[in-house]
């Protein structure tokens, strides 16, 4: 929120970058899912790639714009609804999940996304994840995991590696990071996947699978913050540390092997776990009302 512009690259660079990106995609019809507002992200930020994958997933599933609703928290990631040509709700820091839950329960006809940064989802909003997962609310949750607080300029987040120096931990982060995939599995999510901002095709497939999954879909995307993380989750480091799980489809439903895969590095990318049989929350409610 309060980037000191003296640190910034010149506007021209950014404007050129955006022009170029826009030109590249202008022809492509998934662009209709993009709103006319220009992203305010830094040039090179991984979020551009995530959004492209998102637009493409919507396009390939041919979702009606007015039936999409993207709910986000606060952070650089929180801005995403601004850049989608659909309904959207930019809520409070950490609260995309409760709002998305209420929205989905109110309007089962909508395709509801919840989007959050790592600070948003695992820090301040970390108390909501276990419950949306165990309830199996039918929303698609996308974690923009850059292992840093971007918008507030570079403090440690719940996924910042141990000992990393950040603006809040100048001599090193004393906290052991959380493993979001492990958490999602432990909470009993019925769909757990990981993508990587440098792999648009993989992300698109995962997001599509998440949308099609009836129940809570947890999608972690590994992505760099090019401005406030020069050492850890950089494009370079990511490229070197990501491998494909080749799990896109069919997805495994074995929790133990998923847990094991979650522990590994290089980071596996793909679908770790999917339980297609488990009814969504609203299906359960209906079943219980009928059975009573």
């Amino acid at each position: 929120m309060d980037m000191n512009p003296s640190d910034m690259a010149a506007d021209t660079a950014r404007s050129l970058y955006l022009d170029e990106k826009l030109a590249q995609v202008r022809e492509k019809d998934f662009l209709k899912y993009r709103s006319p507002d220009l992203p305010t992200w830094c040039p090179g930020c991984g979020y551009f790639g995530i959004m492209d994958a998102f637009y493409k997933a919507c396009r390939e599933l041919d979702l009606a714009h007015e039936n999409i609703c993207a709910v986000s928290g606060i952070g650089c990631s929180g801005r995403t609804p601004v850049f989608i040509n659909s309904y959207g709700f930019h809520t409070l820091h950490g609260r995309s999940i409760p709002v998305a839950t209420g929205l989905k329960l109110a309007r089962e006809d909508l395709t509801v996304f919840a989007m959050a940064g790592d600070g948003d989802a695992l820090g301040i909003g970390g108390g909501h994840l276990p419950h949306v997962a165990r309830k199996n609310i039918d929303i698609t949750f996308i974690l923009f995991d850059n292992a840093i607080y971007g918008l507030t300029k570079g403090q440690s987040s719940s996924t910042t590696p141990f000992e990393t120096k950040t603006n809040s931990h100048p001599v090193g982060n004393p906290d052991t990071p959380l493993n979001p995939i492990r958490l999602a599995l432990a909470y009993g999510s019925s769909f757990v996947a990981r993508g990587y901002a440098g792999d648009p095709e993989g992300m698109k497939e995962i997001i599509k699978a998440g949308i099609l999954h009836k129940g809570f879909s947890f999608i972690q995307i590994l992505t760099p913050c090019v401005t406030f993380d020069k050492a850890n989750r950089t494009w370079k480091a990511l490229k070197e540390n990501v491998c494909s799980l080749n799990l896109h489809l069919p997805a495994p439903d074995n929790m133990e092997s998923a847990m094991r895969a979650a522990e590994n590095e290089p980071y596996g990318v793909g679908i770790f776990f999917q339980d297609k049989e488990r009814p969504s929350y609203q299906d359960i409610l209906r079943q219980m009302q009928r059975a009573k």
Binding site: C69, Y87, H90, T101, A106, R107, G127
Partner: protein, 594 residues
């Protein structure tokens, strides 16, 4: 309502230990009186611990005329447990009636005996409660019923009708339970008829209740505030309730967990109150009516989200049923100390609508109004209940269902609005036509950031001013839909004006009437809508009052401070934080002193 030939207006208290059937005896008594056609108001006081040796009091006021407050002192005290009843003697009127166990399980020393401690003027009737219960059912459990039998005999109540009330109460239990209770009641009745010489003047003989029983069954609800809020919400097309348990609001969720699904709605028990209000706002954004309920601690947790509702202009209704504060405070006592938090609690310039029902019936009206206002004005509405309103029981006329225009209040954009749709269009009323997701061409996104007419983040000075002004304009317009303030007493210049709110208002208006009988010229003012507040009306009212008195259940007068600011003059305050509801008697006392 017919008024009776002979008036009845008494308070009966039953006092015992937790587990002695105190509360159920009170409940049966209230239901019986209501069935007889009387007005009732009753509430229970009980310990806050799940288990405890604690004292219970079932308090019931019975009257042939409208009731505005529960009555401070009892005419009759039924002591199921001498120990606790001794501490309740101070709430018995001078010359009141005491019914006690004349042969308690172990004989009491003088200082443990309620009859010994009662003052000389008390009319005491000893009934061998334990012994008669033993005789009727083989154990002491029916003591409470024996006492009700004695009461019935003493006051010439209808024995058979009372028996039926007991049967109704235990209707679903095993036959032996019904029999034990009925037999205990009859033992008490018979013994009293034979053995007691009546020394008091209370009698229901010759009293024509204001309503015959036939009329009553069609028209009366015996209900407390929580139940009525739930009923109103269902009648007002609530489709979503998210909640987290907390005294005294839990029951609203529990009732709706049964009822909402039958009405096509959804009940969500969340992991905390933040999530509850978040889900309500999500559902509100989705276009359906949604509500949550809580008490002080939970309301405090919702503070951040209250700002989002106001800023993003998404409807949300929160019920805060107040209890003793601050912090966890006193969960099972009533208080009116969340006024400031409700009216001023958000960060930033954050106008919020606050309604406080003043009695059981108005719980219904406030709920219907809240859901309507939240939807129409796309904003936050807080309903301030309190422990007393939530839990005290009245028999009331079945409320009128809301008019159709109350049920569908969203102002949707027309085709012209949808061309270049501005979700947050600056309008005179402050209300901008609102699409709900699924509407083609009406897409927008909502945000807690300041934004322009399209909803896009915008931090310019002009933009922020225009949007802030719009939000306040909208808020001010809500006042046009406020129920007219209730004004009681004289219409002329008076010595004392009593301005009140919430559950204290009934006692305040009653006090004005009582004081008038005693020659004090007074008038009363209360408004269900606290924010925005009917400032013009209260100024006009204050203008004809030489002195102003503001009674409320908090320590220093949170509402009094608020009113002082509006009327720009000092006021007298009457504050209690005893955990008991406001008593008109105390207000009258204060008026006399002023």
């Amino acid at each position: 309502m017919k008024t009776s030939d002979k008036d009845i207006n008494i308070v009966i208290e039953i006092c015992g230990s937790a587990g002695e059937g105190t509360i159920s005896a009170g409940e049966i008594l209230s239901r019986f009186m209501s069935a007889q056609g009387f007005e009732i108001m009753s509430f229970d006081a009980y310990p806050a611990e799940i288990r405890g040796f604690g004292k219970c009091v079932a308090h019931t006021r019975v009257s042939a005329n409208p009731i505005y407050s529960p009555g401070k002192l009892a005419d009759v005290l039924i002591a199921l447990n001498d120990n606790h009843a001794i501490s309740q003697l101070s709430a018995l009127k001078k010359g009141g009636i005491l019914i006690y166990d004349s042969q308690p399980p172990k004989p009491h020393e003088e200082d443990e005996s309620v009859v010994a401690q009662a003052d000389a003027e008390t009319i005491s009737y000893g009934v061998p409660l334990t012994m008669l219960a033993q005789k009727a059912a083989g154990n002491a459990r029916g003591r409470n019923m024996v006492a009700l039998g004695a009461l019935t005999a003493l006051f010439h109540l209808d024995r058979d009708a009372f028996t039926n009330s007991i049967k109704d109460r235990y209707g679903k239990k095993k036959q032996i339970v019904i029999d034990s209770n009925v037999n205990s009641f009859l033992e008490g009745f018979d013994w009293t008829k034979e053995n007691i010489d009546k020394a008091d003047a209370i009698s229901f003989q010759g009293v024509t209740p204001p309503q015959t029983k036939a009329e009553q069954t069609e028209e009366k609800l015996i209900i407390n505030g929580n139940q009525l809020v739930a009923k109103a919400a269902l009648d007002a097309d609530l489709k979503f309730y998210a909640g987290y348990p907390i005294t005294p609001a839990t029951k609203i969720m529990e009732i709706l967990s049964k009822e909402l699904p039958k009405h096509g709605g959804t009940l969500l028990q969340t992991e905390d109150e933040i999530s509850a209000i978040g889900a309500v706002i999500g559902a509100g954004y989705g276009g359906i009516r949604a509500m949550t309920g809580t008490s002080g601690p939970g309301f405090a947790l919702m503070t951040e989200f209250t700002g989002l509702s106001v800023m993003a202009e998404v409807p949300a209704v929160i019920i805060d049923s107040q209890r003793g504060g601050p912090s966890t405070g006193i969960p099972t006592k009533t208080e009116q100390s969340d006024f400031n938090a409700a009216v001023f609690g958000g960060t930033g310039d954050c106008p919020r609508v606050v309604l406080a029902p003043t009695d059981t019936t108005s719980c219904y009206d406030a709920t219907v109004l809240a859901l309507y206002l939240a939807e129409k004005y796309q904003t936050l509405v807080v309903i301030l209940l309190d422990f007393f309103l939530s839990n005290s029981i009245r028999n009331i006329d079945v409320p009128q269902k809301p008019a159709p225009e109350m049920l569908n209040a969203n102002i949707a954009p027309d085709a012209a609005d949808l061309a270049g749709y501005q979700r947050y269009k600056i309008t005179d009323s402050g209300i901008s036509p609102r699409t709900i997701p699924g509407t083609p061409g009406g897409m927008f996104f909502a945000t807690g950031l300041e934004h322009d007419a399209y909803g896009r983040p915008n931090y310019t000075d002009k933009g922020h001013l225009a949007m802030t002004a719009k939000r306040f304009r909208k808020h001010a317009n809500v006042l046009n839909e406020a129920p007219a303030p209730v004004i009681s007493g004289s219409q002329k210049t008076v010595d004392i004006g009593v301005i009140s709110w919430g559950s204290s208002a009934g006692a305040a208006h009653e006090a004005v009437m009582t004081a008038a009988e005693k020659g004090i010229s007074g008038a009363g003012f209360s408004s269900m809508m606290l924010s925005p507040f009917p400032e013009k009306q209260v100024k006009a009212f204050a203008g004809r009052c030489k002195k102003i008195l503001i009674p409320e259940l908090n320590y220093r007068g949170q509402f009094a401070d608020f009113v002082t600011r509006i009327i720009n003059r000092p006021v007298e305050r009457l504050n209690f934080i005893t955990g008991r509801p406001m008593a008109s008697e105390d207000i009258v006392e204060k008026m006399k002193e002023m």
